[in-house]
């Protein structure tokens, strides 16, 4: 299969994303911001889980670190919270750096544990970081959180507070529009880097560590180091997501970065198909926009009730749809949505590619040949 259709599709998507702010309402713009922010985190996590084969439930913790470090370093000192007042760009870089650094500090654990075991160890991180956030009130604002300095680059502000008028094709470019393009640039960069990484020497090393640590080591790959590196990269991605979420909300508060958020990231990459960068983005679109859209349009959906009326509320409905979607994809679709697309493409490319048929009455589970050993 050539890369050309893939590249064309990517280009088309990019053009659409560039044009969308011209037509979208504020609600959809806001939703788009959250989607792009979480997509970056999902891409980072799919590198860790799908490519390197390590499970992490601590993604929300690293996102929290990114968010709070951004808020603290770029914010001003006020009566309730401290801030360093650095330029927002510096704050963003520091946020990502801090998350990656904490990831590195955790790497002795990340390098020694495998798969699920690492997942459970990282579960603890979410609680530890939350504890710190709640207790370090001077920096974080405790339970209530703190407001976040809006982004600016060389005097150009990405907010409504500073309305130097800018319009394209008759549409006024307000803060949301501007943030849209900032986020789009960041998301494209993040996806591009991740795709490169997947196809590079480092990505191959990670995939081999996932498939067999023994074989990887025999090829000269330092297994613990490779696992730790994957963990650091994915933490950095999560840090960026956190800072972007802070910008999109305009505030940071502990509840944004709960265990649920960690789980959401995992769900995105599983729905999209483990190890697939594009799949992670699709997963993020679904997981992030579903509750927002259902809540926004609950009044026009006949089966949903208004909050408090005792019927099926939008938030409840979206949680249930969400849970059922996870179950349905895992039970029915091999390799997530990306796997579905890949099989479609392969089938249309080579209709006669005959997989040996089965069977004599046994349940025909010719599962994908992922077994690490070839037995005879």
């Amino acid at each position: 299969m050539s890369d050309l259709p893939k590249k064309l599709a990517g280009l088309a998507l990019l053009l659409v994303a560039l044009a969308l702010p011209l037509v979208l309402t504020d609600f959809w713009l806001q939703t788009g911001l959250f989607v792009m922010a979480t997509a970056i985190g999902a891409v980072g996590l799919t590198l860790l889980v799908g490519v390197a084969g390590q499970l992490s439930l601590g993604h929300a913790a690293f996102a929290a670190i990114g968010a709070y470090v951004y808020a603290w370093t770029s914010g001003e000192t006020t009566g309730s919270v401290a801030g360093l007042g650095l330029p927002p760009v510096v704050g963003l870089v520091l946020g990502v750096g801090a998350a990656a650094l904490v990831g590195a500090a955790f790497s002795p654990v990340a390098g020694r544990l495998r798969g699920i075991y690492l997942g459970l160890a990282t579960l603890g991180l979410v609680f530890v970081v939350r504890h710190l956030v709640v207790n370090l009130e001077d920096w974080t604002g405790g339970f209530v959180g703190r407001s976040v300095q809006s982004f600016a680059l060389g005097g150009f502000s990405f907010s409504n507070r500073d309305p130097d008028y800018l319009a394209v094709a008759g549409v006024e470019f307000e803060g949301l529009h501007r943030l849209w393009y900032l986020f789009l640039a960041l998301a494209v960069a993040a996806v591009w880097l991740a795709a490169n990484l997947r196809g590079s020497r480092t990505g191959r090393a990670w995939a081999n560590v996932r498939d067999s640590e023994t074989a990887a080591a025999a090829m000269g790959i330092g297994v613990a180091r490779a696992k730790a590196a994957a963990f650091v990269v994915s933490s950095g991605y999560a840090g960026l997501t956190g800072a972007m979420l802070a910008l999109a909300y305009g505030r940071v508060a502990p509840d944004v970065f709960s265990l649920t958020a960690s789980i959401d990231f995992l769900v995105m990459i599983v729905l999209g198909g483990l190890g697939s960068v594009a799949g992670a983005v699709v997963g993020a679109v679904f997981v992030t926009s579903l509750p927002l859209v259902l809540a926004q349009y609950s009044s026009s959906l006949p089966f949903l009730a208004a909050p408090g009326s005792g019927g099926l509320e939008a938030s409840t409905a979206s949680r249930i749809v969400y849970g059922l979607a996870i179950i349905a994809v895992l039970v029915f679709v091999r390799g997530g949505l990306a796997g579905l697309v890949r099989r479609r493409l392969t089938r249309s490319a080579a209709p006669s590619a005959a997989r040996t048929p089965v069977d004599d009455g046994q349940p025909a589970a010719v599962s994908p040949p992922r077994s690490k050993e070839t037995t005879r």
Binding site: S200, T202, R204, T356, P357, P369, S371, T374
Partner: protein
Amino acid sequence: MPPPLLSVEHLDVVYDGTITALSDVSLTVEPGQVVAVLGSNGAGKTSLLRAVSRSLQPYGGTVTGGAVRFAGQDLAGTDAADVVRRGLVQVPEGRRIFRDLTVAENLRAGGYTVRDARARAQARDRVFDLFPILAERRDQPGGLLSGGQQQMLAMARALMVSPQLLLLDEPSLGLAPLLVDQIGEIVTEINKQGTAVLLIEQNAVMGLRVADAAYVLETGRVTAAGTSAELSASDEVRERYLGVAAPVVETETVRGEPAIATAQPPQQLRVEGLTVRFGGITALSEVSFTVEPGTVHALIGPNGAGKSTLVNVLGGAYRATEGSVHYGDAELTALRSDKVAGLGVARTFQNISLALEDTVEDNLLVGRHRLMHRGLLPGALKLPGARREERAHRETVAGIAELLGIAHLLRTPVHTLAYGDRKRVEMGRALAARPSLLLLDEPVAGMTHGESQDMADTIRQVRRDLGLSIVLVEHDMPFVMGLAEQVTVLDFGKKIAEGTPAQVQRDPEVLRAYLGASAAGDAAA
């Protein structure tokens, strides 16, 4: 005329949808018979047993054609548990006793399907009668038993259901000759008590001695069948499986400049007093030998002799309990696996270990890992240096694929490849690491005669063109005889002989290890 107890009719078995393990295999076992199936590693013997005991599925295998009938009934649609209830029990290869359960609990698990307390007590008495040592050690965990006792426990566990047909998968595996003889006697005794036995053996002597009839399986096909006497007399069987008169082909010694430069010239590999223990089992005991630079050195021995353990120690995957391994000046036993690889030691695996979803090219490029230097950031940013490096190494890898005859497969995902090609890809990955010492763990296991001749040519060519040292682990004696300059023979974790192929082949100890105690006696007589 009653139907045979077991009849296998035109059976085909495929793994992972692509790899054919058995094709058109037919055999029968009559009530009260002992039938042996002989063949080398990878011939499909275990797949045959799994097809009969309906346990292929967990291993990704499926029956794609033919039928298995037990006492006249087709077993299609039944599962492993049904089959046991009908009186057909398999003792798996490698014994697979439950190590954390006591001997008594192992037997209890074996008799799981027997609901009648009296029948169960009878079966246990019979088992303890047959294996008094198990009665003695009934409250000890299975993991503490010796290898021979574990084999007895595995057989005893299966006998707890008083089966009509017992399937035995390589019961002599890794046992000392005396124990092999003892296991043979036990099989005969079990048979006398009325149980038919289907015996899978690599040890042809033992198989033919206890069996009434035998089949020879080669790469998934039955190539010979007959009574034990007929097969013992057949020239081909004598040559291939009884180790008689394997031809020694003198290797031409090649000196000169290698076509592709190795990283460093090969060094001397010295193994001194190497001992490896796992739990209570000694896998290797005080093994010493030296591999001279630029030579092919074979390690041979029956299955379970400790060959793979040795390769794993050389490659850094296992730790030595005692002793040392030096490659040049470096002490390998002190190093982690990836550091060993960094010294120019590359290896292949007995069970192929490739990234199945990646292409052949990507798998080969993993071999280049230690020779590439661009790290995470240059790779992620696609910096010019990283691109250049990637391109250069892709070219090298293409050259290696050319050498191995897999150039046309470069863009193909590994999971669609046939078994022999996968073996070649793994070899290519090891070569891509530009080794000065290459460890090949059973490179021709599961290959046809023709394929293994090709592989032998490839190995010769690699040695000639790349000028490296090769340590070759094999159990197939004739294959090694035509390739290696020096041979070290292991048995039961100990070195029992060393020398040129011709010397080793005449050594009475080697005959004994390969042919069993009594056969060696015959040979000596």
